[in-house]
């Protein structure tokens, strides 16, 4: 499966690890609940750890762990729900998160440009065929007022 990351179409290197699935080597994403329970084991496994965040998850719970987490996935419940735009911005400016922030779930490619402006640097589209068009939208505007 491919995604957009840092303005390029690349292979996704993370595997979705369900809460009841046993830990295996390689890059994985886990839920916040699992992270909070098994932080030590997850960090000692062979590979990077990404966190799957939903709109309900409280980011302050992982504020001190952020430098150990390589990827934060923000899962859009609906493209009209703009809360994650502010969440992403706060992750960058308030929590100083430097890793990958990836949009997943129900957002649309026409939101990719705005999301890129507020700190989201990776995009997993539900329809992979749209990746080239989404990539092109990153150049929609050459100048910004903000």
């Amino acid at each position: 499966m491919q995604i957009i990351k840092d303005k390029q179409i690349v292979e996704n290197t993370y595997r979705y690890l369900a809460d009841d699935e046993s830990l295996s080597n390689g890059n994985i994403t886990v839920s916040l609940a699992r992270w909070l329970q098994e932080k030590a084991q997850l960090l000692s496994h062979n590979g990077q750890v990404g966190l799957r965040l939903t709109i309900e998850d409280d980011v302050t719970l992982i504020a001190d762990d952020l430098n150990k987490i390589a990827l934060l996935e923000l899962n859009f419940p609906a493209f009209t729900d703009g809360r994650l735009f502010s969440r992403a911005k706060l992750l960058r400016i308030r929590f100083g998160y430097q890793g990958e922030i990836r949009a997943v779930g129900n957002f649309m490619l026409d939101q990719v440009f705005y999301l890129s402006k507020i700190g989201v640097n990776a995009f997993h589209l539900n329809n992979e065929e749209q990746l080239p068009v989404a990539l092109a939208t990153l150049d929609d505007f050459s100048i910004s007022y903000q």
Binding site: G82, R83, F85, R94, F141, I143
Partner: protein
């Protein structure tokens, strides 16, 4: 031959007298952004027409570009940034009305311009044309930051602390394509006022910005939040009494971020910031905002140089210092009572001696409020070039203003406006009605509004009676979304649907000015054939009850609803 000579003379007149504009002019960056937007929207429209975007997705995208799907056709709402329009832009609007619409345009309460009959596939072409004159339809609809509005007399009235337009322009740029706030819980409207008398209804906006002076004599902003009209009219409350100018954008950003994170998204009727403020409580809401603001303010300061750069666009035009020496104006006033009446109702005093601000009434008795034909758009553009430094403003009450007219020119201007049917001397009177498109055009409406206005005009066809009634603001909306601000009309009329039949609710005593108030219900709604008699009855009760020069609003406050109720419902 004669015709071409005439054309030459006309073009000579127009083109030699085009003045230097004293309004914001795009720089290369502004122009690039707006042109890139046209390309972006063209792509989105093409993808929708090819079926690559679904209805829901395209709805959100087109609304953020002012494009609605209405009863008959799409409606395109073009932005009039804080109401300022150049003569050149007005001509372009005339072109669009002529070439893409049915020969007219409509001015709205947010100082914007609507076209009711464009073809969806041609909207990108319209936007491309608008971009050639520094215009667009960005964020004129949708759940995003909308067009910022202000006083239509900004920069020319006597009672302002400073010109609010530079502040509006700074807000305009900040709101335009703000990446974080494009998918808010609901629409978001900001208004700015700098004068003692609030002519921008700031207390009924999501954010009201008042330019004020503190005890130390420094100019800054008083910030109101949580006002709004619509289904739940609420008067905005003060969140900060004084904000240093340099912190304007950080404070707005803090409010918006709190709203975006915590505003309700479960029910669109409870999604405006006014509900969040009420449910959170002003104290807690303020704490949230101030905490966010303290975290971001140092990184977002506006420099003096930035203010100066924007302010330089809004210099005074080249006023004639001897304008007041003219004697013809006084002579015309004396000799022509119709002219004198027009001066009284349709012009306002100006900060410069010898100048007045002129209202172009878009409320002729036989024309839908706020509508203007392509021919009149061109004509008003010419008049603006000839008499008012090439600039026009649109007003919150759906009229136009030529803000800088020399008193010596007023008589000629009046004659020309009269010939165009744009000089009905009714500004601020009972026939200067704010009206939404209603059932005739709008898919949301429950009832007609334009025809009701027409009938009110027919019933009030005695202009002397209208002048005697004085300051009365009638607002009529065809549904409870309240686009025509009926809840703050001195007389508010609201169309409701009762089992498929149009009925009308009446409220009295509302106001969007300094003494902000939401009107009280008069009683049960009345049927279609009873609404106009009800309005004329209300006006009769006023003339019976008023004391001396007492205004309608003051009389309503003093005598209460009972005398009005008794007469209106006498036969029920």
């Amino acid at each position: 031959m004669a015709c071409s000579i005439l054309l030459f003379i006309l073009s000579y007149r127009v083109y030699t007298r085009i003045p230097t504009l004293c309004m914001y002019q795009y720089n290369d960056n502004d122009q690039t952004i707006i042109e890139e937007r046209v390309v972006q929207f063209r792509g989105q429209t093409e993808r929708f027409l090819k079926g690559e975007l679904n209805e829901d997705q395209f709805r959100a995208l087109r609304l953020m570009n002012g494009l609605y799907i209405q009863t008959h056709a799409p409606m395109l709402r073009v932005a009039g940034p804080y109401g300022l329009i150049s003569a050149k832009q007005l001509r372009k609007l005339g072109d669009i009305a002529k070439n893409y619409d049915k020969g007219y345009a409509h001015f709205t309460t947010r100082q914007n311009i609507q076209f009711n009959w464009p073809e969806l596939a041609k909207v990108p072409d319209i936007l491309a044309e608008l971009a050639t004159v520094q215009m667009h339809a960005v964020q004129t609809s949708g759940n995003c930051l909308r067009n910022t509005t202000t006083d239509h007399l900004a920069g020319v009235c006597k009672d302002e602390i400073e010109d609010p337009r530079p502040t509006c322009e700074i807000i305009r740029q900040w709101t335009t394509f703000h990446p974080e706030f494009a998918y808010l819980p609901r629409k978001f409207k900001i208004a700015v006022s700098a004068s003692a008398q609030d002519r921008a209804a700031t207390q009924f906006h999501d954010i009201g910005v008042h330019i004020v002076k503190n005890a130390a004599g420094e100019i800054g902003y008083r910030i109101l939040v949580g006002g709004g009209l619509g289904r739940t009219p609420i008067i905005g409350e003060e969140i900060r009494p004084f904000l240093e100018k340099k912190h304007l954008l950080s404070y707005l950003e803090a409010i918006l971020r709190i709203y975006n994170l915590y505003g309700r998204r479960d029910n669109k009727y409870k999604a405006r910031i006014k509900i969040l403020v009420k449910e959170t409580g002003m104290e807690t809401f303020r704490q949230q905002v101030e905490a966010e603001w303290n975290a971001i303010k140092d990184g977002m300061e506006l420099s003096d140089a930035r203010f100066a750069e924007i302010k330089a666009h809004f210099t005074d035009p080249a006023y004639d210092k001897n304008a007041a020496a003219d004697t013809s104006f006084a002579a015309h006033l004396e000799q022509n009572s119709a002219f004198a009446t027009w001066i009284k109702f349709n012009t306002k005093e100006h900060k410069m001696d010898g100048y007045r601000a002129v209202f172009v009434s878009l409320k002729a008795p036989d024309s839908p409020p706020g509508d203007i034909t392509d021919a009149c758009l061109y004509a008003v553009a010419d008049l603006a070039d000839e008499y008012s430094f090439g600039e026009v403003r649109s007003t919150h009450r759906q009229n136009l203003v030529l803000a800088d007219v020399k008193q010596a020119d007023l008589y000629a201007l009046w004659q020309k406006l009269s010939a165009l049917k744009l000089a009905t001397a009714n500004i601020g009177t009972a026939t200067d009605i704010i009206c939404c498109p209603g059932l005739d055009f709008c898919a949301l409406a429950n009832a007609g509004s334009i025809d009701v206005v027409k009938e009110i005009n027919q019933a009030l066809d005695d202009i002397d009676y209208i002048h005697d009634l004085g300051d009365i603001k009638i607002n009529i909306s065809g549904c409870m979304n309240g686009c025509a601000h009926q809840s703050v009309g001195h007389i508010g009329i609201l169309g409701v649907d009762k089992k498929g039949v149009e009925w009308y609710q009446i409220t009295l005593g509302g106001s969007s000015e300094n003494e902000a108030a939401i009107g009280d219900r008069l009683g049960p709604s009345v049927a279609r054939d009873e609404i106009v008699p009800a309005i004329t009855t209300i006006l009769e009760v006023y003339t019976e009850q008023r004391q001396e020069e007492e205004s309608f609003l003051t009389t309503v406050k003093r005598v209460g609803m009972t005398p009005f109720k008794e007469k209106v419902y006498a036969n029920h």
